[in-house]
Amino acid sequence: MKTFANKNPRTLEQAVSLVQQANKDGKTASIVGGGSDLLGLVKEFIVKPDVLVNLKAIRGLDQVTPAAGGVNIGGLITLDALGSHPLIRNQYTVLAEAAEAVATPQIRNVGTLAGNVCQRPWCWYFRNGFPCLKNGGTTCFSIVGDNRFHAIFGGGPSYIVHPSDTAPALVVLDAKFRVMGPAGERVVPAAEFFILPQQDAARENILAADEVLAGVQLAPARPGRRSTYNKVLDREAWTHAIVSAAVVLDMDKDVCQRASLVLGGVAPIPWRLPNVERLLAGQRITPELAAKAGEVAIEGAQKLSKNAYKVPMTKALVQRTLLALATRA
């Protein structure tokens, strides 16, 4: 691997100032959570850090803390701990299921929530070092290339899909993202944390180079809430989502008062489905309504040359996930 120095800051503030110091010295700093994804990028020379700022050294960033009826989750919590945490499993099931859906046990044992949310795309052009929009270049190779895994919504000029499982779950829960930077901490609503390529093709979220995702805040779970994360993989285990659905239903007996749906694997950001949410509000979710929801979900989809199959896949996934969640005992 390229030479780098590993630094173990004691606090988040220290972490931020280490990044700033490195930049001042004309060096590149990379912030590290679990490190699995980053090391892969470093080994391929796609990321070339001189300094690693190791957040694992900071105590107390991995806690699940009830707060004001809701919960604060430290960004450094491992996916394994998150997925098995009783409070998350019971009240924020979609997030627990999403955490459990990531990769393999070995990765979940070190991979962090923040790392998973901030994971770089798994587009095979990006990962194979093509000089694309995400890699200092000016083009997206998937447009005229092999785009079978690329976006059907929100694409352009880059057509990557957001690779995270936990991100759609956090968005569907209307999470607030706690960002730590040189100016201190700020809170960013989920809907604003992820950015479309139209806005900035080089990045997937609003974090500046000297900012850290310190954690998330979740609002109290409403009574009658049920949620789930459903993922279509490209073998039986251990791939990113071809398409995934994070669904929250606030039920009053068998009427859905409020629905939230966010898709993964279809867009450069977790893709909210407001039209479907409007369709379902106040309704009983029958097989017919679930089918209609599937159709509405794919309205406006823009197919590339090889990813048309994602459209019927999305429709079916939304329909099935809704119906199963609504009718489950």
């Binding site: 590993n6 490190g35 090391l39 044992n109």
Partner: protein, 225 residues
């Protein structure tokens, strides 16, 4: 499965064949305590490259080592502590051959830096057996033909060990799910699951071995010897 006695013990086998094992001719001794010395010359940290002193416990033995910040845990174990039982299959966290237990949890040692293991406990495949006594998992792997080529075997063992320490009586599906981060290209998957289930003493729903019969009469059949 009938307990067919292993006819050749490990020590007998090694002595009997007289095969030269060219492992670590310059490296530290393998059995028992491990020294903190790295092999000379070729593998020493090169000047100008950031290094850190780390303390970690590996298979119950404490080590204090100067590591280059860029060394992976796999590299530290294999090249500097002489523990070559952990294998590197891809060095990208995509295959699981390098799985070790870090504070009791299975991780990809190729995707963790050595510096991040400071102050932590590592268990590798070399730490499973107690002297000449194999861990029940190892014994089960032997009896159920766990290793074909054997290259993924260390990683499979450590994942299984991690699973059983959390869940001593898993179902076959739970075994598969826990070990799904370990690829076996020989595709010996059925055998690994069978072996883990046997090691737990659980009744296995997995089929054992094969069934055999003799061919029926057909033209051109040669006689038996």
């Amino acid at each position: 499965m009938s307990k067919r006695k292993r006819d050749i013990s490990r020590r007998q086998f090694l002595e009997g064949t007289g095969v030269v094992l060219a492992v670590a001719t310059a490296g530290p001794a393998l059995k028992g305590q491990l020294s903190t010395a790295s092999p000379p010359e070729a593998d020493s940290a090169v000047s100008g490259v950031p290094t850190t002193t780390v303390r970690l416990v590996v298979n119950g033995t404490e080590h204090r080592v100067d590591v280059e910040d860029r060394w992976t845990l796999a590299e530290l174990l294999r090249d500097h502590l002489g523990l070559t039982g952990t294998k590197i299959g891809c060095d990208r966290g995509e295959c699981g051959a390098c799985t070790v237990l870090l504070d009791g949890k299975p991780v990809y040692s190729c995707s963790n830096l050595a510096v991040w293991a400071d102050g932590r406990k590592v268990q590798t495949v070399e730490g499973l057996a107690q002297g000449e006594h194999l861990d029940p998992l190892q014994q089960a792997f032997v009896e159920h033909d766990g290793p074909q080529c054997g290259f993924c075997t260390s990683g499979q063992l450590m994942s299984a060990k991690g699973l059983l320490s959390r869940n001593p009586h898993p179902t076959a599906h739970e075994v598969r799910a826990a070990m799904t981060g370990n690829i076996c290209r020989c595709s010996n998957y059925n055998r690994y699951v069978e072996a883990v289930m046997a090691a737990t003493g659980s009744a296995s729903t997995a089929k054992r071995g094969s069934s055999r019969s003799t061919a029926s009469a057909e033209p051109g059949a040669g006689g038996a010897r």
